[in-house]
């Protein structure tokens, strides 16, 4: 029962080789540059005209002070950037997720328009790996409420 035929054994060896090879490719194959979940603002801008009007994900930090929310039209405008460097203006509609605020990481789905504004159809907020209790006097979600003030939500 335990003895494997030579053929089965060689099949096993091939199988193991394939798996190890695939694993090595994942580790060292640098597929990072080919398949990425999102582009950063700098990478998007570096593409030049090729970046216009194609569906793409854009990920970066919300530029502090750039958030403008219009409760009447539900229009949200802000800019995203790498940790430094040029920012890309973003236009989105609908209430942002609860965690959305200045300096937060976001991933957007949409298209980069020819007028230099990224039209987002989906706005996702990237949460950090930090879990912190509120500091003294700080109320959780306060920023969200102040951002959403007057929006009726």
């Amino acid at each position: 029962m335990s003895s494997m035929s030579g053929r089965r054994r060689s099949a096993l060896v091939v199988g193991v080789a394939v798996v190890v090879g695939a694993f090595g490719f994942l580790l060292y194959g640098n597929i990072d540059s080919n398949v990425v979940f999102f582009l950063t603002p700098q990478e998007l801008l570096a593409r030049g005209p090729a970046a216009y009007d194609v569906p793409v994900r854009l990920g970066g930090l919300v530029q502090p002070g750039s958030v403008k929310w219009d409760p009447a039209s539900l229009e949200l405008r802000f800019a995203v950037m790498d940790t430094t460097g040029p920012a890309v203006a973003v236009q989105s509609s609908g209430a942002p997720p609860q965690m959305f605020r200045d300096g937060m990481g976001v991933v957007l789905e949409g298209r980069y328009r020819r007028d230099g504004v990224f039209q987002a159809t989906e706005l996702m907020v990237k949460h950090s790996n930090e879990y912190r209790k509120p500091e003294h006097g700080e109320r959780p979600q306060e920023m969200y409420r102040s951002l959403m003030k007057g929006a009726g939500t």
Partner: protein, 244 residues
């Protein structure tokens, strides 16, 4: 029934782990500990600065994920042992751990999705962490269906061992995905990124879920041995019927 069937597995069913009653008591203790750990986590930790009480999902999502990894590690070791020694019990243990690991992986995805909707703004996105976890789940759903489809026990065990190993190799990929690639999912938290108020509840729940994992796996392992025994009896009966 006075069949003189050579049943080495007859007594083995009782010797697989803690004795009959012992396992049930262990299960009761595991469930009680889980209830206690949940209460500890829910009652002692303050609302998170950013996400408020949404943070509480951490106490089920993270233990489910960690313990799914542990279950698949057991699958890998048992599968290797089976391929090496060809003993049936290793195959049955792999199958049991795989079943529990599959349930825990599905739980991880479901709970993560519930957390993701209010936090990220979406239930699901095809980022590398989520995608690789979905692949892990699908491989083990495939593993379980494969077992159901192969009638010959030896062949079933050999194929399962190969698929089980392949599937378990996905675990390090899932774990490292948040470091190797850009993801929406955050990278691993450490005690330095998590305030101590949350760490205690998380650890208690991780241990409690581990005990539940052990209980489920042992319980399933016993059932697997009993199933195997029934299979053998059937085969024997069929052979005798043909011989007569």
């Amino acid at each position: 029934m006075s069949h003189a069937v050579p049943l080495e597995s007859d007594s083995a069913a009782a010797t697989g782990g803690p004795g009959g009653r012992g396992l049930e008591w262990f299960g009761v203790a595991a469930i009680l500990m889980l209830v206690g750990a949940q209460a500890l986590g829910l009652l002692t930790s303050p609302a998170d600065r950013d996400m408020g009480h949404l943070q509480k999902i951490m106490y089920v999502h993270v233990p489910a994920a960690w313990n799914a990894f542990i279950a698949f590690f057991v699958v890998a070791v048992s599968s290797l042992l089976y391929l090496w020694k060809g003993q049936e019990r290793h195959d049955l243990l792999a199958a049991s751990a795989a079943e529990v690991g599959t349930v825990f992986t599905a739980l991880t995805l479901a709970l993560g999705s519930i957390w993701g909707r209010p936090t990220w703004g979406v239930w699901w996105t095809w980022d590398p962490r989520l995608t690789s976890t979905a692949v892990l789940l699908l491989i083990f759903v495939g593993y379980l269906s494969l077992r159901a489809f192969i009638e010959d026990a030896d062949r079933r065990a050999q194929w399962s061992a190969a698929v089980g190993l392949l599937g378990a190799l996905n675990v390090p990929i899932v774990y490292m995905s948040v470091r190797w690639w850009r993801t929406l999912h955050q990278i691993q938290s450490t005690p330095s990124t998590v305030d101590p108020e949350y760490v205690v509840g998380l650890r208690a729940n991780a241990i409690a879920v581990l005990l539940v994992l052990v209980y489920f796996t042992m319980k399933r392992y016993r059932a697997a041995r009993a199933e195997r025994l029934a299979e053998q009896l059937e085969e024997q009966a069929a052979l005798e019927g043909r011989g007569a």
